[in-house]
Amino acid sequence: MTMLTAGLALLMAAAAPPAAPEIHCKGHEDNLATYQAISKILFNDRDASRAGEFYADEFISHNSDLGGSEKMVSNPANMTRMWNKSLEEDPNRELIDNLIICKDDFVIAQVTLQGDRAGETLKGKPEGRQRFRASAIDMYRFKDGKVIERWGNADLVAIIRQIGLPVDMTIKPLPPED
């Protein structure tokens, strides 16, 4: 193989779409389809205006998306704000589904998060953009085709270490008992 064709092969491999996820959702195709629509339209396209199609008017959120495990009641407007902010800060962010399990009203997805942030927003203001890549697991409870409860954990420490986010690392109090 010449250097030119080797280089072309590498470029093509870099542009190749991610492998299809491993799916265990037999009998739960509706919830799987809804989750995959959420994955594409909200998580990747960040079409924040469509949050109301996928989240119930009120749903229980067990993750704050920035660390913390307090339970709170959220709504599609909050998600719209979150996705708009995400698109602004991480325009190249991708969420890749690796493994999806469905059972009853639940969908669980093990995913890879990757993206980058502008150096000027990060500690030390490095030149250019800093990339990150980390794992996460998300869980959703569906009712009538919409999310009514969600949980999730992402490897935020790995993201912080990879890009140097200017996060507040001071000690904070233990969360209250439920």
Binding site: R133, M139, R161, I163
Partner: protein
Amino acid sequence: MTMLTTGLALLMLAGTAPEPAPETHCKGNEANLATYLQMSKFLFNERQAERAPEFYAPEVINHNNDGGGFGTSKVKPADMTGLWKYLQMIEPDRRIIDNVIICNGDLVAAQVTVTGSRDGKSLVGKPEGRRRYKVSAMDMYRFKDGKVVERWGNVDYFSQIRQMGLPVDISPTPLPPED
């Protein structure tokens, strides 16, 4: 009820009330659920580290390094034994509470709460006494012939650091290599 008996009742509730049973969705996968519940009891909570080979295959594909970070490695039961012994030493009161357990095919996923404490001497600022934490985590296991052959997991390590003040190094690190 007098104040004394009320106080005693409250103490009893605080000290000894069992946790609520987890919500489980494992119909048709009862064997894997039972194995996972045993792991939860013997390994995660009682830290009977020497029993790791009962639950882990001789080689397990590991997608989490238990301290944050991306990548895949192969681990053996002896590695898990070492981990549980280490955790027993530094966090003797660590507990994992199963909240929701989902099973499908050869997979079990658990949404859990992790609580524990560490001696202040091992933490940033060396506070007096022990510093407690309470965070959420999600774990997934693939079983074959009754043993774990693959595992994934994410814990809210960021919150744990902030609650306890772990002396972690958060200076920037290189991006992990592509798998």
